[in-house]
Symmetry: C2
């Protein structure tokens, strides 16, 4: 086993207001990250699962963007209401949440079955 079984990165990049690509910060990425952290801790998973903020993950159009390693599953348009499903399905049961995955094939092509 490596240091973390799951490592979750939440984009917190902030662009100037009105930027054509938008940014994850303006879509409440901080709240998403904070709730992920809180729930992971409440469930006692924080020794094997880590939640981190990240700089721009270059998926601004799909924000709030979350990527889960080691399997590199990309989630887009994540909001606080999606957090429990990501945790219960992907983190606890190891089943990525299909409906939240970024549909652009360059993000989730040739998906590794885990």
């Amino acid at each position: 086993m490596k240091r973390f079984e799951k490592h979750i990165f939440v984009c917190e990049n902030k662009r100037p207001e009105g930027h054509p690509r938008g940014c994850c910060s303006e879509k409440n990425s901080v709240q998403v990250k904070e709730l992920l952290k809180r729930r992971i801790k409440e469930l006692g998973l924080n020794t094997t699962v880590r939640v981190n903020s990240a700089g721009c993950l270059d998926a601004c159009e799909y924000g709030v963007t979350v990527v889960v390693y080691p399997e590199q599953i990309w989630y887009g348009k994540v909001n606080v209401d999606d957090v429990e499903e990501i945790i219960q399905m992907h983190i606890v049961k190891n089943i990525p949440v299909e409906r939240l995955q970024i549909k652009d094939e360059k993000f989730n092509r040739n998906e590794i079955k885990i």
Copy 2:
């Protein structure tokens, strides 16, 4: 192939001066990240390799801390002079740099051969 073949996260956490754990920011993590980004771009690797800042990776004592996914290799005490070796060996040749890996076994135990 997934979105990124290699995804490099550099801790940029900043703690108040004098904090017993120290922090990566005070050890020039921003310069490490910026040089990684610049060299990856200069080498034309930036479509398949991404360098990101990250919040606290919980390896403060070993900072500047860098973790490379998908293989989750943890590097510690990284400075700007180490950047080229990480890129040429690990990113280009896919051979992790042994001497820079965090020696604490909880970070690099049961290493996956890549």
